[in-house]
């Protein structure tokens, strides 16, 4: 069971307090009607699903109830960082280079 740091509560709590919300930074288009079917399908369904660092959404559902983002390595399952919703996505490639060192 993962141990997850909630940036809103400032504490670590076990995974069962959280719900994973899938890949982060897939913004809903402001004008969905302007997208063609292919673009809309990309938004709805296409995911990077990387073997490596992934920015993903978590919600502290049995805590503060708030969403936040986390960068996690999908092979080791270790968290690299957490940050609040609305903050920009860290440079995953740079983080990966750091992690490799």
């Amino acid at each position: 069971m993962l141990l997850i740091h909630c940036p809103w509560c400032g504490i670590e709590r076990p995974e069962i307090e959280f719900r994973c919300g899938g890949e982060a930074h897939i913004d809903r288009p402001g004008q969905p009607g302007d997208l063609d079917d292919r673009q809309w399908a990309d938004f709805l369904y296409m995911r990077s699903n990387p073997k490596g660092l992934l920015a993903e959404r978590w919600r502290h559902v049995h805590g503060c109830g708030r969403f936040f983002n986390a960068v996690r390595h999908t092979v080791s399952d270790s968290f690299v960082c957490v940050y609040k919703t609305g903050e920009p996505c860290p440079d995953l490639e740079a983080l990966a280079r750091e992690g490799a060192q």
Binding site: M1, L2, E15, I16, R19, C20, G22, E23, D37, R38, W40, A41, D42, L44, Y45, M46, R47, S48, N49, P50, K51, L54, E56, R72, T74, V75, S76, D77
Partner: protein, 417 residues
């Protein structure tokens, strides 16, 4: 290649089995093949086998970064059934079901298909409605499936607790009698040996690191840990790693890879005659030929390639097993492991062409790919050989996510009201 039989076994016993040869070769890669299959799991090996056997395409390599059959093929709970809801799924899985029945004879490799019957339990009024809908739909399609009362379910599976003293009492069950289990490793090995006999090169410990494309955008071959290998047609059958491989060709996929766990008990004498599945309480149980209770647990909620999962996923399933089969509470978990399942938004696979000419994909089987192994290989081989999908896999396109023509087996079981 030696044909397997009791007499051959007895003959070889005379010389203490010194005379058995390799079941498959250990070839070095050739510079070029007509078709490269990426992934030597059951689906990939079956694809190669049927390419050679049904379509005469024998200049084929199957590339495997680890060892053949080492992914989900060797990690699943081996349930085989075809009582799916939608016509598209019925067609896909029932063709596989037909192939399972004679697969040992077809491959001359005993894959131990055991038609023990798969019973799916209903615990709520909603479950009853859903499963009866399956039974009616299956009957019309000619797919075996029948409805059992709780008492009939108990008669078919005596350890089942149909008492009212459990949290979600059993209200009935859908039973497919010819469904069952098979020996997973033997399926991979049988197809490997079969494909090898037709001249297919199975190249293990050969990781694909890139997909090379020609000027016109079509596939020209793959970069591997053993150098470049040319091919005009490449079929990706990489299960949990499909996104990673497809990314090499610049194709994004509607997939997420999740850990899926399973476990076995210590072996005991035969005590469990069939396969029981319960979606509502999350329990999947059968007994292997060795006597182990084989139990399927759930998926973790996050993307992971770690082949491990959380304890809470396992315990949740064991809870359900103990609730339905209270005599198994004193049994013990011997081994618990994880696989990586590639899941599509509608929980149905993608089998067909991709936007890249010459690149084909067979993926997204989620938690249920083993049962389709023969059929999946059969239709994928057809798709690659003819450059167009077989009638059966025609609906399972990547394009359905654009059009919205989803084949949503999971939604059909959604609980509300």
């Amino acid at each position: 290649m030696t044909r397997f039989s009791f007499w051959e076994l007895a003959r070889k016993a005379v010389n203490a089995h010194q005379d058995w040869g390799h079941q498959w070769r250990k070839p070095d890669p050739k510079p070029e093949y007509d078709v490269i299959i990426i992934g030597a799991g059951g689906h990939g090996l079956a694809t190669a086998y049927y390419l050679a056997k049904e379509h005469g395409v024998t200049n084929v390599a199957v590339l495997e970064k680890g060892w053949l059959g080492g992914g989900n093929t060797g990690r699943n709970t081996t349930i085989v059934r075809s009582n799916y809801l939608w016509e598209e799924s019925e067609g896909l899985y029932d063709q596989a079901m037909d192939l399972w029945q004679d697969l040992s004879q077809e491959l001359n490799y005993n894959i131990m298909y055991s038609a023990r019957g798969v019973m799916m339990l209903a615990h709520t009024v909603h479950d009853v409605q859903v499963f009866k809908r399956h039974v009616h739909a299956n009957r019309l399609a000619g797919v075996q499936n029948e409805w059992l009362t709780p008492e009939e379910a108990k008669a078919y599976c005596p350890p089942l607790n149909i008492g009212k003293n459990i949290r979600y009492p059993v209200m009935g069950a859908a039973l497919q009698r010819k469904a069952g289990v098979a020996r997973h490793d033997a399926v991979a090995w049988g197809y490997a040996r079969g494909a090898d006999q037709y001249g297919v090169d199975i190249i293990q410990n050969c990781a694909v690191t890139g997909i090379r494309r020609a000027a016109d955008g079509s596939v020209s071959g793959v970069e591997t840990s053993r150098g470049f290998i040319g091919a005009k047609k490449v079929g990706v059958v990489a299960a949990g790693h499909t996104s990673v491989v497809m990314d090499m060709a610049g194709v994004r996929m509607p997939l997420e890879s999740n850990p899926l766990q399973a476990l076995v008990s210590e072996p005991v004498k035969p005590c469990f005659p069939c396969v029981v599945m319960s979606n509502t309480v999350h329990a999947y149980l059968s007994q292997s030929d060795k006597g182990e209770l084989v139990i399927g647990a759930g998926t973790d909620q996050y993307v992971s390639y770690s082949q491990t999962g959380g304890l809470q996923i396992t315990t949740h399933t064991v809870d359900a097993i103990c609730e339905l089969f209270p005599m198994f509470r004193r049994m013990r978990m011997l081994r618990n492991w994880g696989g990586i399942v590639d899941v599509t938004p509608d929980r149905s696979p993608i089998i067909g062409k991709t936007p890249v000419p010459g690149l084909f994909v067979n993926c997204g089987w989620g938690t249920g790919g083993f049962k389709a192994t023969p059929g999946s290989g059969h239709v994928f081989a057809h798709t690659i050989a003819r450059d167009e999908p077989h009638r059966i896999n025609a609906p399972f396109t990547l394009d359905r996510f654009r059009t919205g023509r989803l084949i949503d087996e999971a939604a059909a079981a959604a609980v509300a009201h």
